[in-house]
């Protein structure tokens, strides 16, 4: 099929034909096209429907500011909603569909809303839909939601991958147009590390759209040569397809590199890369965006920005119509007429709102000075325009130019405020821009090409010299000076016809007027009340125009009206790109213990604990329910011997001459005099008196201690200890290092644990009860000389040890222990059995050490030493923390032993109803005890320690359970602790 609007030349490869479909129709384009240029080449003028009124809309721009031509691109899980056709590089097989209409694009049933538009003005929904009350959620809101929204998500998992990366440079240049290239050429020549990034796949910016000559050759040729020159410099990195979307603190910039072309060819490759760029200086050369003028029915397909018409003509060899008119308030609009005329496209008329002499004389083109377009006709495409002088002109395309707005967004990302310039009738960067940033070219309001090039060159020189690089390269490109004159012209009185300001969100000049009338006078209020500038184009073509319209309404200067705040991202960024690789299992890294492989062979069921994968239980053949395994592991451990991997506990080696003193300050209980070869339980508080962590600390020699922490708190406790040392007691001779990973550590528990270990420990080490009593600690060797550490400590309440060897031997030691344990019918137990046994023994753990409980609450007040300063002592004395009606930890057992107690149940007295007032406490941990053969729980209840024997209700309204429980001692098994000491 022929592309009827295609002309010759252009910066595309007309020998490489590409096929694509739009709404199912097969079309052709060329390599180097964007989707929008290919659609226009095929004379597709109606490409979408507007957000609110479902008005027919056509392509309006040729860049990332596009408000109308947003589509669903791709199929199935690959479908990208709301994709701007103007920045989508055409590829073979591209599938595009218009969005946000019911029925075919040319006949959208939702267009009914356009008829009702008088009802649906700005903020109408705040004033109605209130009666009857129930209708909002049931009727009104669903209706609104279904008609709102734009593109569709596939609702399938995003099949593409994304990556992230870090790059560093001296000078980051954003935008590879005339000024950006000039800056890069000089900065590059100085030897500085330069990154030049541009959102377009073809560097050159407007030079690719215009016919200006630079250094005697076509501008786009000069751009091409410059890019080649930069490529040859080892210290310059070119990043096309890369949008710098945000300016963050201290010279950090966020940028997204589009690599779809690569990921389409190879699904393994990332679709986009999220670059974090660290730079010392930044030169912003992001150019400018053209704006429209608000006049009656200015939204019909065929009405587009004048600069875009030139882009399609010069860069993509596409004429946007057969009979084109121009409407402008500035000199730049006239170039469109000239270029079209030069390429033999019929220009019907030039309408200039100014009293001005013709800017360019063009043979046989009707010139209408000091006139406006007041209305247009044409249902699905423009057919004619009506002028303020009454004339009607038949035309199929109207190229509008209301002037150019500098793309200064990134200068405002640190909340800098732009300044209004009367010269260009737009905002330019203000005083405060991010540190290290300078602005050059039209982004800086310098609309004259020759000056923009000079400015880029100077900023490049300045930046390089500022960093101490020598700059010899002084000549810069020359081009004829073309002036840019403009006189402000925002909107045209267009009677009953709607004049559109924000095309995508359907905000008209009237909406803005109504908002002002209702007292919304701040630009932020207007934005929020009318939704102006909140569409996917972020108001790139609308905002400044709206500010102009507002200022007219309110009789204020544009300066006083001000702008809304620009925030990242500059243009929308796929959430997947921000997530990068952090998906599914890769969300966090994974930690494996030395016995992981062995446990896996034993079919362990694992659970993630602070990134560690820990064995929960080890199912045996025939065990169908997790508790079968756990009960067996507990019974076997308590009756003979069990082994558990406790490598994940935090381990900290502490060395130095002042360690005792230090430990005495960070632990609540006394630590000044721990004998060598002994372990002591330690209770660590936060400064606010709440329990932070608990563990044991052993003294291996005069100046050498080793501390254990809980798995979950290992990092925080180490950080806390470093704080205490460096910030509070810096002169103590204390040296800490984590040895968590250095040692594999296993708990061996149960009446036969000693007999088992005697087969592992080398015989020269006597570990009999006499030689190595409860709480003993020693450095020994095992299995024929392998160094190890042995601690006689118990979490289960049984005779128990923890044995540690260098991690390299961890796998091997676990296997040896299991083999040596055969004769005792040794069992491996996991975290669930561990949990059961610690609850049977009444040891507080995670659910009890929840940061809301003090040592007194946990029944450990007795351990607190009143004779010394320590972290948490003083604030622990506050009146409310000392009250005896606080919730205190106790044990619970069901009055009827068949009853199930549930963790999370709240406690109320028998005679009371379950209400907040009657809430007495809650059950924190709860398990079935295979030893006691009924459920037991730990929990907190007011004055609990004095209420042993009381019966209360454990109520779980969520699960509808309500059982009588008795308050008992938390020590269910061996309360006297005899088993530990045998």
């Amino acid at each position: 099929m022929i592309q009827i609007n295609r002309t010759n030349n252009g910066l595309i490869d007309q020998t490489k034909e590409l096929s694509f479909t739009f709404n199912g129709e097969l079309l052709k384009g060329y390599e180097g096209d964007t989707l929008s240029s290919a659609l226009l080449a095929n004379n597709k003028r109606l490409v979408g429907r507007s957000f609110k009124y479902h008005r027919p809309r056509g392509i309006f721009t040729a860049g990332s500011e596009e408000p109308n031509a947003i589509m669903e691109i791709g199929l199935g899980a690959y479908q990208d909603p709301n994709t701007r056709a103007t920045v989508t590089k055409l590829y073979d097989g591209l599938v595009a569909n218009s969005q946000n209409h019911r029925g075919p694009l040319w006949f959208d049933f939702m267009a009914i809303t356009d008829m009702l538009s008088p009802l649906l003005g700005a903020g109408f929904y705040y004033k109605t839909f209130m009666w009857p009350k129930a209708f909002w959620e049931k009727i009104y809101e669903p209706a609104i939601r279904n008609s709102a929204g734009l593109g569709k998500l596939s609702k399938q998992e995003d099949p593409d991958t994304y990556d992230k990366g870090f790059r560093h440079c001296d000078i980051l240049i954003i935008g590879a147009g005339a000024s950006g290239l000039s800056a890069a050429l000089v900065a590059g020549s100085s030897g500085a590390e330069v990154i030049l990034a541009d959102e377009d796949f073809l560097m050159g910016g407007r030079l690719n759209s215009e016919t200006d000559e630079i250094d005697g050759i076509a501008g786009h040729e000069w751009a091409k040569n410059s890019v080649e020159k930069l490529k040859s410099m080892g210290n310059v990195r070119l990043m096309p397809n890369t949008t710098v979307f945000g300016a963050y603190d201290h010279g950090i910039y966020g940028a997204i590199e589009e690599r779809s072309h690569e990921s389409r060819a190879n699904k393994e490759k990332p679709r986009q890369v999220n670059w974090r760029i660290y730079t010392k200086r930044t030169i912003l050369c992001t150019g400018a965006t053209e704006r429209a003028i608000a006049f009656g029915n200015n939204d019909r397909p065929g009405i587009m920005l004048a600069g875009a018409v030139r882009t399609y003509l010069n860069r993509y060899a596409v004429r946007t119509g057969e009979n084109i008119s121009i409407y402008t308030n500035n000199d730049d609009g006239w170039r469109t007429a000239r270029d079209l005329n030069d390429r033999g496209v019929n220009v019907v008329a030039i309408i200039d709102s100014r009293k001005t002499e013709p800017v360019i004389n063009i043979e046989g083109v009707r010139v209408i000075i000091n006139a406006d377009v007041v209305n247009t006709k044409g249902r699905r495409a423009l057919s004619s325009i009506k002028l303020s002088n009454g004339a009607t002109i038949k035309t199929d395309t109207l190229a509008v130019s209301g002037g150019w707005n500098p793309n200064l967004h990134l200068t405002c990302h640190h909340r800098g405020v732009p300044r209004y310039s009367d010269d260009i009738c737009s905002f330019v960067p203000g005083e405060s821009v991010p540190d290290g940033m300078s602005v050059a070219g039209s982004a800086n309001g310098t609309m004259v090409l020759s000056k923009a090039i000079e400015e880029g060159h100077n900023e490049g020189t300045e930046a390089a010299r500022g960093l101490g690089y020598r700059v010899d390269y002084t000549e810069y490109a020359v081009t004829p000076q073309v002036e840019y004159n403009i006189s402000a012209h925002w909107s045209v009185e267009s009677g009953s016809n709607r004049a559109w300001v924000d095309l995508q969100n359907d905000v008209t000049a009237k909406d803005i007027k109504l908002a002002n009338q209702e007292g919304f006078k701040s630009v932020e209020h207007v934005k929020r009340y009318t939704t102006l500038g909140m569409a996917t184009d972020q108001g790139k073509t609308a905002n400044v125009l709206a500010i102009g319209v507002m200022s007219e309404n309110l009789g204020r200067t544009i300066e006083d009206t001000g702008t809304t705040i620009f925030r990242p991202p500059y243009s929308p960024v796929a959430i997947g790109a921000f997530a990068g690789r952090r998906r599914a299992k890769e969300f966090y890294p994974t930690r494996y213990s030395p016995s992981h492989k062995w446990a896996d062979e034993k079919n362990a069921v694992f659970v993630e604990v602070g990134m560690w994968y820990r064995a929960q239980w080890f199912p045996e053949p025939g065990e169908t329910f997790w508790r079968d395994s756990v009960d067996r592991e507990v019974k076997q451990t308590r009756s003979s011997v069990g082994v558990c991997d406790v490598t994940t506990l935090g381990k900290i080696d502490i060395k130095g001459s002042d360690v005792s003193e230090f430990l005495n300050l960070i632990y609540a209980n006394a630590f000044a005099k721990v004998p060598i070869g002994k372990t002591r339980y330690g209770l660590m508080l936060r400064e606010d008196g709440m329990v932070m962590d608990d563990g044991t600390t052993a003294r291996l020699s005069e100046n050498h201690f080793v501390m254990t922490t809980t798995t979950a708190n290992a990092v925080n406790v180490y950080r806390h200890m470093q704080f205490c040392h460096q910030c509070l007691w810096p002169d103590l001779d204390v040296h800490m290092i984590s040895v968590t990973e250095q040692y594999a550590q296993y708990a061996v528990a149960g009446p036969n644990s000693r007999r088992l270990l005697q087969k592992i420990v080398d015989h020269e080490f006597d570990i009999s009860n006499e030689a190595f009593p409860f709480m003993g600690a020693s450095e020994i060797t095992v299995c024929g000389g392998t160094p190890a550490r042995l601690f006689r400590i118990s979490f289960s309440g049984e005779l128990a040890y923890e044995i540690a060897v260098q991690t390299r031997y961890g796998d091997s030691l676990m296997r040896a222990i299991m083999e040596a344990g055969n004769e005792f019918d040794v069992v491996a137990y996991g975290t669930e059995a561990l949990g059961v046994m610690r609850i049977e023994k009444g040891h507080a753990a995670g659910p009890e050490l929840n940061g809301q409980t003090s040592a007194y609450d946990l029944g450990m007040g007795g351990m607190i030493s009143g004779k010394k300063d320590f972290i948490g002592y003083t604030l622990g004395l506050r009146e409310d923390l000392q009250r005896d009606d606080r919730m205190q930890m106790v044990g619970f057992k069901p009055v009827n032993e068949q009853d199930l107690i549930q963790a999370g149940s709240h406690l109320v007295n028998l005679e009371n109803e379950p209400t907040t007032e009657n809430d007495q406490g809650w059950i924190s941990s709860c398990i079935y005890s295979p030893i006691l053969e009924h459920y037991i729980g730990l929990g907190f209840i007011k004055s609990g320690q004095n209420r042993k024997g009381d019966i209360v209700r454990a109520v779980n309204l969520l699960k509808g359970s309500d059982v009588k429980v008795e308050i008992v001692s938390p020590h269910f098994v061996d309360p006297e602790g005899e088993r530990l000491r045998v």
Binding site: P270, R276, H735, V739, T740, I760, V782, G784, T807, R808
Partner: protein, 189 residues
């Protein structure tokens, strides 16, 4: 004597992955010992290191080598030295204690870390996907050593040569780090 004997396993069981212009190899039989320098002992330690094997204490972020090049000192912390050297036995800390005779606190860290060598001309291009540091040769010179975080994993990175890096992560993270490096390689190469 016990009837059992133990066999050792390295963190990644000697894993190696080769790509076009890059190889990832676990480093085995290297030891790493942390020397904590007590207050006011720095001079004594400096002397002892020098007389024992011609080592001098590098500035923080840099490394130094012994006369015979066998022992490398990494200075990552004010009052600490990391000693990186080929040694396969279980008593690396005592070995150094006797060799250096320097009055420091020695702690064996050999099993604390998984050690991966990243080498090949693509090393920097692959590492820039996960490493926030500027690895430009002029900034991160040969012999530079640093701690940082890659893919949420605490990491030590040491530049052995122009295109050769040593990456250390806590041993339990070793598999995740190797995976991260492989993904980078696949994405880039």
């Amino acid at each position: 004597m016990s009837n059992y004997s133990l066999t050792k396993i390295s963190a990644l069981e000697g894993a190696r992955h080769d790509f076009d212009g890059l190889s990832l190899t676990e480093i085995v039989d290297q030891s790493l010992v942390m020397m904590a320098m007590p207050r006011n002992k720095t001079d004594k330690i400096t002397k002892a290191l020098n007389s024992s094997c011609g080592l001098s204490i590098p500035i923080i972020g840099q490394s130094g080598r012994s006369d015979d090049d066998s022992i490398t000192l990494w200075r990552l912390q004010k009052d600490q030295l990391m000693v990186y050297f080929p040694y396969a036995n279980d008593d690396a800390d005592n070995y150094l204690k006797n060799k250096f005779k320097a009055p420091a606190y020695y702690t064996d860290q050999s099993d604390t870390w998984a050690m991966i060598n990243v080498s090949g001309e693509e090393s920097v291009n692959v590492l820039e996907r996960i490493c926030p540091l500027n690895l430009d040769l002029r900034t991160f010179t040969v012999g530079t050593v640093s701690r940082t975080v890659m893919e949420h994993i605490g990491t030590i990175i040491y530049r052995e040569g122009r295109d050769s890096f040593v990456i250390l992560t806590m041993r339990s993270f070793g598999i995740s780090m190797m995976h991260a490096l492989e993904v980078s390689a696949k994405n880039v190469l």
